[in-house]
């Protein structure tokens, strides 16, 4: 049940795939995985949430850090393949239009 993280690079864009629930137990691990990428600051980041059935405010907070990084960088921070439950949480937080959210990984790669 611990979260699994995978990273893959393509055309100078790194895609992080998360598998598992993105809750208070998983957030520190995911944060530790993302932060070095922001420090590096030389590739856009796509976070693939296809296999994330649940996200809480700690998960959102972790992703907001990516958003803030992208605002202070010329790199993109994009989310893709949100499950219905995760999408609903973003909607309630009114963050669906604040983040760059894409239905498919292919779309997220366009211009990233």
């Amino acid at each position: 049940m611990t979260v699994e993280l995978n990273s893959e690079e393509k055309d100078g864009v790194v895609t992080i795939s998360i598998e598992g629930e993105f809750d208070m137990a998983a957030s520190p691990k995911i944060r530790n995985f993302l932060t070095p990428l922001f420090k590096e600051n030389n590739r856009s980041v796509i976070v693939d949430l296809a296999k994330v059935p649940y996200i809480d405010s700690s998960g959102i907070a972790t992703l907001v850090e990516g958003l803030q990084w992208s605002h202070s960088s010329d790199k993109k921070f994009r989310l893709t393949q949100l499950s219905p439950a995760v999408k609903d949480v973003f909607e309630i937080a009114r963050l669906l239009t604040v983040f760059e959210v894409f239905d498919s990984h292919e779309e997220a790669l366009q211009g990233a």
Partner: protein, 145 residues
């Protein structure tokens, strides 16, 4: 539900999922729609996370006692901790216009639940009671469609 269902977990983020799993099953048995099930699980989870973060200041060796009841289509959850008491009138859901990490947990709770009340009139810790009318929501969802 004749008797409430109770679950006690250690104040360790690791075990939040055990509580979520039990709650999801309770709500599935009550034939709640998936969306509402997830939303209620989120609220309970956020409240427990706050108990760990603020009530127990991150210490993982304490207990969180949670109790669930559904009566007359009203879902009631009580969350009892034995940690630090705070002036609960002061924690406000944050304004969403300012996008920053943090402050979302209580926003979700207030947005989703019908009533949220903290009681610190105990020697130690806090009792948080939250309710949600399950019928109203389904009616509202229908009206919105």
């Amino acid at each position: 539900m004749a008797e409430p269902i109770k679950i006690t977990i250690p104040s360790d983020p690791r075990y939040l999922c055990v509580n979520r799993r039990a709650l999801q099953q309770i709500l599935t048995l009550a034939e709640l729609p998936e969306e509402l099930t997830s939303q209620l699980a989120l609220c309970v989870d956020e409240a427990c996370s706050n108990v760990i973060k603020y009530g127990y200041e991150g210490e993982t060796n304490h207990s969180i006692e949670i109790s669930y009841a559904i009566d007359n289509d009203v879902f009631e959850v009580k969350i009892r901790d034995y940690g630090k008491q705070c002036d609960t009138s002061k924690f406000q859901p944050r304004c969403l216009d300012d996008v920053k990490p943090g402050g979302l947990g209580t926003f979700f709770i207030h947005k989703i639940m019908d009533s949220v009340s903290y009681c610190t009139k105990r020697e130690k810790g806090t009792l948080l009671t939250m309710t949600k009318n399950l019928k109203t929501d389904m009616v509202n969802q229908k009206e919105e469609e």
